[in-house]
Amino acid sequence: MKRSSVLILAPLLGLGLCALSGCSSMGAKPWQRAALSRPDMQVDADAVQAGLDDHIYFSKEASSGGRGFGGGGCGCN
């Protein structure tokens, strides 16, 4: 390879490799969970929505029950 090509390609390759580590430090640290603790951030924040979601899920699964939620109650399809 030409020396000038290597000179431009090697740093580019280096930068590219660094970009591969982009998502390597995911998740909130314990002291950063302020937003996660909000009531509207809970998975079952809205009981009606949770019930509807479960109805759809169990319909698609062609099975019922197995999950507790604040909506229709266990076993409802």
Binding site: S4, S5, L7, I8, P30, W31, R33, A34, R38
Partner: protein, 157 residues
């Protein structure tokens, strides 16, 4: 063409490095707890969004009188919002010093495992004891750890 690209690449690499060098360094974490050196320090990391913290405050307020001047209780508040922190303190007054750590630097330094976390530090600032969470049933355990730390005082290490 290649020369221009190389120059651009070098610029992209150098400018952030210069910026980092020019940024004023944050105050070292040790500075925050320096005023308490020479005593056994009970450091409690708390936040307004942490329910067990609200439960622990009445007990924390009793520690200073219970264990005397050799112990100092310090609360480190990791709330990012000053308003949230002030509102919490209005409802749960703290009878101990509170250090604001909105950036989470002190929490990161001690790599706390959860919220709330309490550390017991010796006179030189070394960690003697860590516990996470607060349960009223376990108050005896927490107080035993404090007593053990106070008894270690004076041990030459």
């Amino acid at each position: 063409m290649l020369k221009r690209l190389t120059a651009l690449l070098l610029g992209v690499l150098i400018v952030p490095a210069l910026a980092a060098a020019a940024t004023p360094k944050p105050v070292p974490v040790d500075e925050a707890l320096k005023p308490y050196a020479g005593k056994i320090v009970y450091v409690d990391f708390w936040a307004s969004w942490c329910t067990p913290c609200a439960e622990s405050f009445p007990w924390l307020n009793t520690l200073q009188t219970k264990f005397g001047p050799k112990l100092v209780v310090v609360g480190v508040n990791v709330d990012e919002s000053d308003t949230a922190s002030a509102r919490f303190l209005k409802h749960h007054p703290a009878g101990f010093d509170v250090i604001r750590d909105a950036q989470g630097k002190i929490a990161e330094h001690y790599n706390i495992p959860g919220m709330p976390t309490s550390l017991i530090l010796d006179e030189q600032g070394r960690v003697l004891h860590v516990h996470s969470g607060f349960l009223p049933e376990r108050i005896n355990e927490y107080e035993a750890a404090i007593r053990a730390a106070l008894n270690h005082q004076g041990d030459s290490k």
